[in-house]
């Protein structure tokens, strides 16, 4: 049983990091659909970094730098060029997925999965059965708490929220909402890098193309489901992980009777239900970014 718990924690951790990135962006007024792309970039950069530098720390730094660069690009396009957040975010995701494939191809001359000799440090025997979890999994609750503190207990967090909720109020207090969004996206970039690092180097130590497999989108959904609150979003992300684990369980137990595809769709179905529930409870999950205005650019 411990093991299933560990596996679920393991699969939930990247989702939580991605969800936190989504929450921070959402607070600052950005509907961040580039999470998937940043996450795969983080995963790729971590593994490639380890292979090339033989150092986890350097690899993490590279991953964080890459994801921050991607975030800055998104900021540039969305804030400075006023592009639509959703389309630009999806574009960033595409860039991440295509770019990592290309990077692997051009560095290693093949698209084969890249495996690293080692990955993130493990938390070690002091934690008993949990010893095989990576430090990022251990740190996850701490980071959730830190993000919560940042958003709910610092002036920076208030300014971030004001920039998202009422940019004019922020401006009249001398806060530049655009700069705050950059900060939010950059912090989100760091978190996406961690999400990717945990996914690829938490225990697998491998990078395969498209290995995020929609986890970034689920992180985004968790951010919405969690009502833009870091703890809520983290719970939602863990909930998705649990649903995924239950789907596997169901495949093992009922696989002969229920189509596997239905069970594999469970996380997506759960996401839809989650979005629907949170809309019911809170009266709409709609971003206030004037989609009808797309026509009027």
């Amino acid at each position: 049983m411990d093991e299933i718990l560990i596996a679920t924690l393991r699969s939930g951790t990247p989702l939580v990091y991605a969800a936190l990135a989504g929450v921070i962006a959402q607070r600052a007024g950005i509907w961040h659909l580039g999470l998937e792309g940043l996450m795969i970039a983080g995963a790729c950069a971590t593994i490639v970094g380890i292979v090339l530098t033989q150092s986890v720390l350097l690899a993490l730094i590279i991953a964080i730098a890459v994801c921050m660069l991607g975030s800055a690009l998104l900021w540039l396009v969305v804030e400075k060029l006023k592009a639509n957040q959703i389309i630009a975010g999806l574009g960033l995701t595409g860039l991440g997925l295509g770019g990592t494939t290309l990077a692997v191809q051009s560095i290693f001359g093949t698209q084969a999965a890249v495996s690293a000799p080692f990955g993130l440090p493990k938390i070690g025997p002091a934690f008993g059965p949990f010893e095989s979890l990576s430090i990022l999994a251990l740190l996850m609750p701490v980071i959730v708490f830190l993000v919560w503190v940042m958003l709910r207990r610092t002036r920076f967090g208030l300014r971030l929220a004001a920039s998202g909720e009422h940019p004019f109020a922020a401006r009249s207090a001398g806060v530049n909402p655009s700069t705050m969004r950059l900060a939010a996206l950059l912090i989100g970039g760091v978190l996406c890098a961690l999400a990717g690092a945990e996914l690829a180097a938490g225990s697998l130590n491998i990078f395969a193309q498209n290995m995020t497999a929609g986890r970034g989108f689920m992180g985004f959904a968790a951010a919405i489901f969690g009502a833009g609150h870091p703890i809520g979003a983290a719970c939602a992300a863990m909930f998705f992980a649990v649903v995924g684990a239950m789907g596997i369980r169901a495949q093992i137990v009922f696989g002969d009777h229920i189509p596997h595809e239905l069970l594999l769709s469970l996380p997506y179905i759960a996401t839809v239900i989650g979005i629907w529930l949170s809309a019911r409870l809170r009266g709409g999950t709609k971003a206030l970014t004037g989609f009808g205005e797309l026509r009027d650019q």
Binding site: R155, L158, G174
Partner: protein
């Protein structure tokens, strides 16, 4: 002008253009320290723009702002705040989901990390010092408008403000509320804060300000003048300028708030069936504020009923209820003698209901759509959803209607958002006031309009009354309400506190607005 006060704020040649519009043109103003200054002007005169330039929110195309003799970096809020300038906005700028304490904290210096209780203690004491009766833990969106304004003022005073600019602070207040605000302003002045009040009622200027500066069409036409040396006649001339000839005295007084119009015109309403009859109507509380509480109201054909009251006392819910956009939990809504409580807005519109909504740019128009589409919406809705239509026909009808309502526009396909406020409102009038109109709800129909446009709207409503329409006129401006209404109902917290017949007395109506039972 000799005086023993030092100059605190000095603006030189401020010029601001927004595209084609020149909002400010070479404005030179010097304001002395430790006094209460007023800046007046009609809608669109450039008052808000002036305040925003001083506060650093708008970067002027030309000119400079000096505080205590040193120039402030233009268009930089932080620099302006640093030199002691604080602005309280016309429509407040507080994130609704924040608590009062958070709203203060996010603009304040110091203390990056906080605990909720420490934060609330810190700002509660600040509020207490300013004598503002608000709990620091309450959320902005749960506060009544008056408290929100108080919070805005408290927020502006978190740092050590030397110059406090209040942009039309009385627009949302009852006369008593305004009087209390003025007391507080004097109190602040005594504590060494220089106050600039942006106003557009002469009555208020004369009541509180020591000097007055008049803007018209972006120009500074006079001032600062000592209020002690000016009378309301002269001030009203300065504000209105030459266009004042066309207005009758009462309208003119109503427009400048120079004197309370004593509406003597007795209601000449026909007997007939009431066009609107609300019987014991209640609704639940919603995001717009308190729900309606047993509303009894009827409007006869050819009658204008004014709804007075401080904003946020259920006026919006009232309008939405009559429109069928709010769920009625109790009571009945009657239009032309038939019960429409269960009917949709489409049906009510067929029965002759017309609405000039509160938010011209949100509820009234689709700003990015062409004029003719905006105008045709009502006509299109009368057809089946997938009926073939002829846009050419609609365009022609629209051109005809806009012409007869004197709307100035360039092209029938231009965006509604490119119309000036007055013309936009005329477009709405041309759509809503047609032959079949029986009941017209006019919700703040003159808000933000200049004098010509305001007079136009009043005349249009009076003409509709003459044709036998019933009109529900909602406004927070008592002068305007008194000028146009045949009866005035005062709303407080979702119920009708009192109903007045002419002649109206500002004192009694004002008292009713604060909830005092008559």
């Amino acid at each position: 002008m000799e005086s023993d006060h030092e100059t605190l704020l000095k603006c030189r040649e401020l010029t601001v253009r927004f595209g084609e519009v020149t909002a400010l043109q070479d404005v030179d103003v010097s304001l002395e320290a430790n006094r209460i200054h007023a800046v007046v002007g009609q809608n669109g005169a450039g008052k808000t723009t002036f305040a925003r330039v001083v506060a650093g929110l708008v970067r002027p195309d030309k000119g400079e702002v000096r505080m205590n003799g040193s120039a402030i970096a233009p268009g930089n809020v932080a620099a302006s705040r640093h030199s002691g300038i604080e602005l309280v906005h016309q429509s407040f700028a507080l994130p609704p989901s924040f608590t009062v304490a958070e709203a203060m904290q996010f603009g304040a210096d110091g203390g990056g990390l906080y605990s909720r209780s420490a934060l609330e203690r810190r700002w509660q004491s600040h509020l207490d010092k300013l004598d503002i009766q608000v709990k620091a833990g309450q959320r902005i969106r749960d506060l009544p408008i008056e408290s929100q304004q108080a919070v805005e003022i408290a927020r502006a005073l978190v740092s050590d403000a030397k110059l406090l600019i209040l942009d039309e602070p009385t627009a949302v207040l009852s006369p008593e509320g305004a009087a209390r605000l003025f007391d507080q302003v004097r109190h602040l002045r005594d504590r060494g804060v220089t106050v600039v009040l942006i106003l557009h009622k002469i009555r208020e200027v004369l009541a509180v300000a020591e000097t007055v500066t008049v803007l018209r069409g972006g120009l500074c036409v006079a001032g600062p003048l000592e209020t002690a040396q000016i009378d309301s006649e002269r001030l009203s001339e300065l504000i209105i300028g030459s266009s004042s000839d066309e207005l009758d005295d009462e309208d003119r007084a109503a427009l400048t708030g120079a004197a309370t119009p004593a509406h003597l015109h007795a209601a000449q309403t026909s007997e007939g069936i009431p066009v609107l009859e609300l019987k014991n109507v209640s609704t639940r509380r919603d995001s717009d504020g308190p729900g309606l509480d047993s509303i009894e109201l009827s409007i006869r054909p050819g009658e204008i009923v004014g709804i007075a009251g401080v904003e946020g006392n259920g006026q919006r819910t009232l309008v939405r209820t009559i429109a069928g956009l709010s769920h009625v939990s109790e009571g009945t809504v009657g239009l032309n003698g038939s019960d429409v409580t269960q009917q949709s807005l489409a049906d009510r519109r067929s029965a002759g209901l017309r609405i000039i909504p509160f938010e011209r740019n949100v509820e009234g128009l689709s700003l990015n759509s062409p004029l003719w589409e905006n105008w045709s919406a009502l006509g299109l809705l009368r057809k089946p959803l997938f009926a073939m239509i002829s846009p050419g026909g609609f365009r022609r009808d629209c051109i005809g209607a806009l012409e007869s309502w004197d709307v100035v526009y360039a092209d029938i396909n231009q965006r509604a958002g490119s119309l000036s406020g007055g013309n936009a409102q005329k477009l709405i009038l041309s759509r809503e006031i047609d032959e079949a109109a029986k009941l017209v709800i006019a919700a703040q129909p003159t808000r933000g309009l200049d004098i010509g446009a305001t007079a136009f709207v009043w005349d249009a409503l009076r003409a509709a009354r003459a044709r036998g329409c019933g009109i529900l006129f909602v406004s927070s401006d008592l002068d305007e309400i008194f000028d146009i209404s045949d009866r005035v109902a005062v709303m407080v917290s979702g119920h009708i506190q009192a109903v007045f017949e002419p002649p109206f007395e500002i004192g009694r109506v004002g008292a009713a607005m604060t909830g005092a039972v008559q």
